[in-house]
Symmetry: C2
DNA sequence: TTGTAAGCGTTATCAA
DNA sequence: TTGATAACGCTTACAA
């Protein structure tokens, strides 16, 4: 008593006349394009033409098909469609981040939200993977590409000498680097110049009269850590200010506090510190305060990111903000275009915005 | 000159001998199970048996197949497999959150990371959708279910009278509520009792000698907002303390600061405030400080979440922490089990942990 | 304008 | 233990 193929089934989620099976009713069979075609008295091809908004269908047929679709509550099965078209309408995002940093970073959720605003109108979906280390990261990309689950992938948080540009080239899958371009990698990129926020910070502090401006770095090995450190260093030189050794840290509050103490322990402590992110800056304020320094009277502090807390603390934090959702939006549109075989078009993104609040002031006399 | 089907193609990503086409080499054809079968001189069925670790294949054949797989770098196409098995090995997570709250909330990234640790070993993927409002939320679920793109969905951030339990039942898709159970919805749930953290907070403050303990609520309409408010109210009653009207807020720093001022403006201001999250608590500390109050000497403050910043500020925040990654992990395993037709097994989660830091102290004399 | 039929790359069935 | 062959649900030539 095998069920015959075709529109003879009883589609829809209506209750069947069978005796009640209390434990777990089997999931109802979903209607197929065949059911719709039969109900609308047209061929499957016609239904396909209608759902895909292609011309060459009479208005009457089109109307009947639409009615049948609504009746049955049918929508095309993504997998079957993908199998035919070889297009998944799905993009992949792999995030490698130590768990303790994940909930810290304002970038990730905002970026994902931005991606969605770009993807949703196009009917694309996002598959997300969070991995702990380099090895699982590589496997994640291999799998996403290999089983054809996604049409393209984002590359975020690039590290110095990151193997992923090479990897995606080998895997032959469209990819987009989110962040500063990697010259020579052959992988297109989208991003704004991190350094600009730092340079604005240094200029701001210089104009307040600061001459010894320190920097607390982010986690080693990341491209954006380096670009922020280099921007700071170059901005100092440009402003004719003395070089200071950067204080290494890793984006966590604890590391930021330690780095702050190291800087303040110097014989010639800085009168202002530019941090690679807000979390470390806030921890730095606490560290400085605990030494009896007042912020901003004795020490000026600048963060990076403009997290929601930045203006809830005392003093409100001077910081640099990127329009990360806009970034995600643009990245999504760009990668979709790439997967559709279009040529890469660099996108203009809103520049970093420097926000002056109360954590910066002229240096002590 | 149409390309014939079969193993005659030239699979793999090796360079072809063709003349270089500078602009954009077409993506190489991926090898299929047929190619592997041909190379290993077995049938497709045998290859399928091997990749799926099913018995009934001779060791020799198995070996030849594995070799061929490695040679060709083949892995089964997810869509074709899904079409056959009707199982996507994919779960869906829809997050409705106003963008400004997204980067604030420590729950989301931690939960996603936890889900991944549960999903990765099972070979499952997660498709994520971030939506701005109820309408797009409904559409997102309808599409994920109707598409057949996912095998099951998570329901997070439940609201009072949330339509989603009904929706997923209608859509006939396995679902799991993440949070307190919704009685009568018929949808299984996983979560811990939020209220426990709040009750511990009240008891802690009571034991310090506080008698007027206020509460700043989260955004209205959320189940977890209500459960925290109710826990506070009940804990007061239980401790024999006077009732105070809860101060409404919405989880943002600004709302937390305002609510704090409203409480402190009272004729009988509280000597301690329990906030529905850390962000509001930190903003509350700033607000209180700006009025000349000292924390904790004049006002004790308790948060909720234990965000990374909680112990970087001054004073370090007394707060309640949930093991959100563990939660995500368990949720993932549970939902996978549900999609595989297994019966729902409630899971024991680590309890809320109450963390005493320096933002609480005995009330002023 | 419409219908027929051949893929797409798997897994499942069943006979050998 | 194996191999044909038929689904799975859709798109797309091509024919009518």
């Amino acid at each position: 008593m095998t069920q015959r193929k075709g529109p003879t089934g009883e589609p829809g989620a209506g209750s069947t006349g069978e005796a009640q099976t209390p434990p777990r009713p089997p999931r109802a069979r979903r209607p197929t394009i065949g059911d719709v075609a039969a109900l609308a008295q047209v061929s499957k091809a016609t239904v396909s033409f209608v759902v895909n908004d292609r011309p060459g269908v009479s208005p009457q047929a089109r109307r009947r098909v639409r009615a049948a679709m609504d009746d049955l509550g049918w929508q095309p099965n993504a997998g079957a469609r993908a199998l035919s078209t070889r297009r998944w309408q799905t993009l992949g995002l792999v995030i490698r981040r130590p768990p303790e940093l994940l909930s810290t970073d304002p970038f990730f959720p905002q970026f994902v939200a931005g991606i969605e605003t770009g993807l949703a109108p196009l009917g694309y979906a996002l598959v997300l993977q969070v991995v702990p280390d380099a090895e699982s990261e590589r496997r994640a990309y291999e799998r996403l590409a290999g089983d054809g689950r996604v049409d393209g992938v984002f590359l975020t948080d690039l590290r110095v000498d990151d193997p992923r540009p090479t990897l995606v080239t080998e895997l032959d899958i469209p990819a987009l680097i989110v962040g500063p371009p990697q010259e020579g990698s052959g992988v297109p990129s989208i991003g704004v110049d991190d350094g600009s926020g730092i340079r604005q910070a240094v200029r701001h502090l210089r104009s307040l009269g600061h001459r010894r401006i320190g920097h607390v770095c982010g986690a080693e090995g990341y491209v954006h850590t380096e670009s922020r450190r280099i921007a700071w260093s170059e901005a100092l030189a440009e402003a004719g200010l003395p070089d200071l050794p950067p204080a290494k840290a890793d984006f966590t509050g604890a590391s930021g506090a330690q780095a702050t103490h190291r800087l303040l322990d110097r014989d010639d402590p800085p009168t202002a510190i530019v941090y690679a992110n807000d979390l470390m800056a806030i921890a730095g304020i606490t560290a400085a305060t605990s030494r009896g320094l007042r912020v901003p009277e004795d020490l000026s502090v600048v963060g990076f990111d403009d997290i929601p807390l930045a203006d809830c603390i005392s003093p409100p934090l001077t910081t640099a903000r990127q329009d990360v959702p806009a970034w995600g939006h643009a990245a999504a549109r760009t990668l979709v275009a790439l997967t559709e075989g279009k040529d890469f078009q660099p996108v203009e993104l809103p520049p970093v915005q420097f926000i002056v609040r109360a954590s910066t002031a002229p240096p002590p006399a």
